[in-house]
Every structure is written in C-alpha cells, then in structure tokens.
C-alpha cells in the first residue's frame, strides 16, 4: 500500500467533505478514486452492483419504518399525554418537573429512533410548561439536550440500524444491548438533577398541584399508549418473536393505530408523516449507498488492514485504545453528523476493532455513546440546533448548559469499558432471529 496514495485519498475525502459536496457523493467519489488507483476491474459495474445489493436488502427495510413511526408519533398527542402522566410522579423527586425531561425522553427514546426527534417531541411540551412554572432555563435546556440524545442509545435507534448494516451484526442484539446503558445514562442524568436540586433548593419552584395517590395513579394511565408501543417493539425483538424489520412494522402500524385512536390522524398528517419519512430515509440511503461503495473500495485498497496492523503494532492497552478512539470520534463529531461518522469510520476501522478483540455489539454501543456526545458539542450538534430553534437561546448558552451531561456521558463510557457486561449480558440471553 502506497503511502502517497493513502494520503491522497484522505486529502481528497476531507477536501470534498469540507468544500460542501453532499456527504453520500463525497464517499462515492473517494471510493471511485480508490478503485481506479488500486484495481483494473470495471469500477462502474462493481459500484452499481454493490449499491443495488445493499440498497435492496430486507434488513435495511427496518430503517424507513422506524423513521416513519417516529414521524407519526411526532405529529400525535403522545408527548402531551406523557407529560400529564409523568408530572404528578416526578414532582415528588428533588428537582421535580426537570425529571419529566429526562424520563420523558427516555420513554420516547424507546419508541423513536432519533435523538433530535426525541428532543423536539418532548421539548415542545416541557419547555413551555417548565418555563411557566419558573424553572431555571439553564437546567431545562441542559437536561433536554442531554436526555434527548438517549434517542440514539435506547432502541429502536436509526444509527444502530446503520451500524448493524455496515458492520454486519444483528440489529436485534444491538437494540437489546443499548437498553441497560440507556437506563444507566438516564439514571446518571436524573442523579445530576437531584444533586443540583439539593444544592440549590431555592431555585426549584414549589409544586402546587396536590394530588391524592389515586389521582396520581389515574393520571398515570396517560402513559399506557407509550408503554404499549414499547412492549410491541422491544418486547417482540427480545422474546425472539420478531426481527428488527418485523418489529419496525409492528411499530409503524401501532403508531398509526394510536394516532387514529387519539384523533390526530387525518389525511394531511398522514401524508406529512409519510413524506417526511420518505425524505429522511432517502437522505440516509444516499449516504449508505456511498458508504457501501467505499467499503468495497477500501477492501481493494487494503488500507483498513494496514491501519489495523499499524494500530496493533503500537501495543496500546484496551483502555488507551478506547480513550484514543473516543477523542477521535468527539473531534470528528464536531464536523460530521453521527451517521456519516459511523459509515465512514466503519469502512476503515472494522479490521482494527476486530483485531483489538473488541466485541462488535459492544463497539456498536460505544460508537453510539460517543455519537451522542457529538450531538451536543458545537459547532455541529443537531440537538443544539433543535433547541436553538425551540428556545431562541444562543448555541453557546445551550452548549454550556449541556456540559455537565456531556461529562456524565464520559462517565458512562468509562463504566461500560470497566463492566462490558452492562452491554453484552442481555444480548447474550436473547433468542436471535435473523
């Protein structure tokens, strides 16, 4: 493998990305360059065959379905219901309704595959409610930014589907692997709110709704639709009844039925949700098309194998390797979105990960966690953009408010590195259907 050729490919990649060429097309162009440099085979033909094969796969169908499900629920009254069901209970904890952000996002994350959608769906209810009651903006915005990222970690998760398809591991296992780390992270966030509330008792507004226990339980019934959907989607995967694709179909049908029962489903909202899902999954499909071609091309260049050997030769301890990767991803995440980051690095790093003896399910969860961090680091952080649009605050204010939650995510990475079973235990117990 020629050093200059490698350097040339890297410069070309970052040059094209940096100048603003569409990400999927940048990947395609670099893959093409790599192929032309390293093989004499008919590049165009190999390219379309690969893209056709990966673009028409049964596994991939889970992607638009989960996106569609999220789009339907975003347009339903689900988040209002959840707030009504949660708030009487959360008012009991130190930090009170700030927890509706965290628990609300956690529950919504379990029916939605995206972090910005989670953040926006929960935020559109909690921001006005918390503002009206006088909660400090800094805490409202911070917890929402942090907890919104749980949309990536708690299944179903779009980015896990992308990782699963790219690294060829079971999407069902990835989903189940994200459950415990997701709950762990939500727990860390809630702990942060409680500690803050204990230290600043004067800044937590008093809650004047006094409800009897019975009423609280009755208010809790508003949570049932969400819980039902979670059981449908995650339960069916874990019990081995359904593949990721089948559970996505359950989820999309369930979301349609739910919004119909709520009366929020009409012709306009159906078409809106469907076309929103079409555009979003098309956008990801273009990146995936470029990425599948890049993976093919990298196989011909031998670059990933060389990197694996080089990193293997450095003799890093697993801790050092993981710390180095985390820093690398956080920096990359300042410029790229999570999905591009995953497909781009997996095309190059997969052999390195395998050679280092890291479990591919574990690594998937790790990558999702660091992508979550990237969601709330400027200059490019989708959750920051979403919250900027919703609250009107400066991006720097939102990013500052999210710093403590960012640090808690670093703690979470340390914890899953220390105790890999947090990730791997549940997936090993499940019955996998492919």
């Amino acid at each position: 493998m020629d050093f200059f050729a490698t350097a040339f490919l890297l410069v070309a990649l970052f040059g094209l990305l940096g100048m603003g060429l569409w990400i999927g097309l940048s990947l395609t162009a670099v893959a093409w360059l790599g192929m032309e440099l390293f093989t004499t085979r008919p590049v165009g033909q190999l390219m379309v065959n690969k893209i056709w094969e990966s673009g028409s796969s049964w596994t991939l169908t889970a992607l638009p379905l989960f996106i569609w499900m999220g789009e339907i629920l975003f347009r339903s009254k689900l988040s209002e219901d959840m707030f009504r069901g949660l708030s009487p209970w959360m008012a009991l904890l130190p930090g009170r309704l700030l927890h509706t952000n965290i628990i609300g996002c956690t529950i919504f994350a379990a029916i939605s595959g995206s972090s910005a959608a989670t953040c926006a769906t929960i935020g559109k209810i909690t921001i006005p409610e918390l503002r009206g009651r006088g909660y400090p903006e800094f805490m409202t915005v911070g917890t929402l930014a942090g907890a919104g990222t749980l949309g990536l970690l708690i299944p179903p998760s779009i980015i896990m589907i992308v990782y699963g398809v790219t690294a060829e591991v079971s999407i069902g296992q990835l989903f189940i692997g994200g459950v415990v780390p997701g709950i762990l992270l939500a727990g860390l966030f809630s702990g942060y709110v409680m500690v803050w509330a204990v230290l600043n008792p004067s800044r937590v507004p008093a809650e004047n709704i006094r409800m009897r226990l019975l009423d609280k339980i009755r208010a809790g019934r508003h949570l049932l639709p969400a819980v039902g959907l979670i059981l449908c989607v995650l339960g069916s995967i874990y019990a081995g009844i359904a593949t990721a694709t089948e559970s996505a179909a359950f989820g999309a049908l369930g979301a349609l039925i739910l919004s119909w029962l709520q009366g929020s489903l009409n012709r306009a909202s159906f078409v809106d949700a469907l076309m929103g899902a079409t555009r979003l999954s098309c956008m990801i499909a273009l990146i995936l098309a470029g990425a599948s071609f890049l993976t093919l091309s990298m196989g011909f260049t031998g670059l990933p194998r060389h990197i694996a050997e080089w990193i293997g030769g450095l003799g890093l301890s697993p801790w050092m390797l993981i710390a180095a990767l985390m820093v690398f991803y956080i920096i990359l995440g300042c410029f790229l979105d999570g999905i591009s980051m995953v497909v781009l690095t997996m095309a190059v790093f997969l052999p390195t990960v395998e050679k280092a003896g890291l479990d591919l399910i574990w690594f998937g969860i790790f990558i999702v966690l660091v992508t979550e961090m990237a969601q709330i680091t400027p200059p490019v952080g989708f959750n920051l953009f979403v919250l900027q649009g919703m609250t009107g605050h400066q991006i720097t204010f939102i990013a500052r408010a999210a710093v403590p939650l960012f640090l808690l995510m670093v703690v979470a990475v340390a914890l899953i590195t220390l105790f890999p079973e947090l990730v791997t235990f549940l997936p090993q117990q499940m019955i996998v259907r492919r």
Binding site: G18, M19, G20, L21, W22, L25, T28, A29, W32, G44, Q45, V48, I51, W52, G55, S56, W58, L60, T61, P64, L65, I67, W68, G70, E71, F74, S114, S115, A116, A117, C119, A120, L152, I158, T245, E246, A249, L253, V271, L274, M275, G276, T278, L280, S281, C282, M283, A285, L286, A289, F335, L336, D337, G338, I339, S340, T371, V386, G389, M390
Partner: protein, 170 residues
Amino acid sequence: MRGALQALYRACGALAGAALVLMLTMITLNIAGGVFGFFIRGLDAYAGYLMAAASFLALAYTLKAGEHIRVTLLLQRLPVGLHRGVEITCLALAAAITGYFAWHSVDMVYISWRIGDVSQATDQTPLWIPQSLMAFGVVVLFVAFVEETIDEIMGRRKAPPKTDEPAHIE
C-alpha cells in the same frame, strides 16, 4: 420546462412514498402469513425492491427539499464571490458523479435484461424490473443536479426552503 421538471421531482417523491406504504404492506403480510399459516412467495424480496425504489426515486425530491446533508461549516464562512465559485464546483462535481452513477445504473438494467438475470430468492423476479426503478431515480437526480448547476451559474438558483422540521435523523 422548469415546471415540468418540478412536477417530475414531485411525482417521483410521491411514488417513493407509495413504495414505502407498499413495503409496509408486504412486511405485514409476511408476518400475518407466519401467524395464520399462509405463505406468499417472495414477499421479503419484494419488500427489498420497494426499499430500493423508495430510496432512489426520492433522491431528486429530497434534494429539492434541501434535506440531503453536506458540511456547510466552511462554505458559510467564505466571502460571497468565492462562496459562489465553490458552490458551482460542488454542483458540477455532484452532476458528474450522479451522471456516472446514472450511466452505470442504466447499464446494469440493460445487462440484467439482456442476460435474463432473475432473482436468486423465491420470487424469481427478472431483476431488470426493480432495478429500472433505481436507475430512473438516479437519472432524475442527475437531471436535478444539472438543473441546479445551470441555475447557480445563471444566478437564479433559489436557496432550498429552510425547514424547521426537528425530524432530523440524529
């Protein structure tokens, strides 16, 4: 001409949406078959074809909605003149890449048709049929990029609508 192109992009988008609905139907039928004990041949393969159709047919429509992502961090900071130059280069490159992609997609359909390639799965569909939907979508994307390039050069390209849709992937 321009009106016709707009209509073409929108029609392809609508077809892609319909493909998604059909795909959900196929998968649901597949599940129902497992539960109620009937079997329809090739449903999983059809779902895959519809997945590809939905992805590729929507390409131009998604581009026009400004939802294909790119890194605009540096681009935004360039002075106006340079910005325009880089933008034209990007569009021209994109047209070249999608042109190459479109050419080979059409070629793939032609080859599949000529050698009578059929699916290896139970559906045994002649592959040129589903593949031609992908090829068509890519050709339309190429046309859209050419149109955008010309518009940018003529200085009449409209910025894509700013969506406040929070529904971004991440």
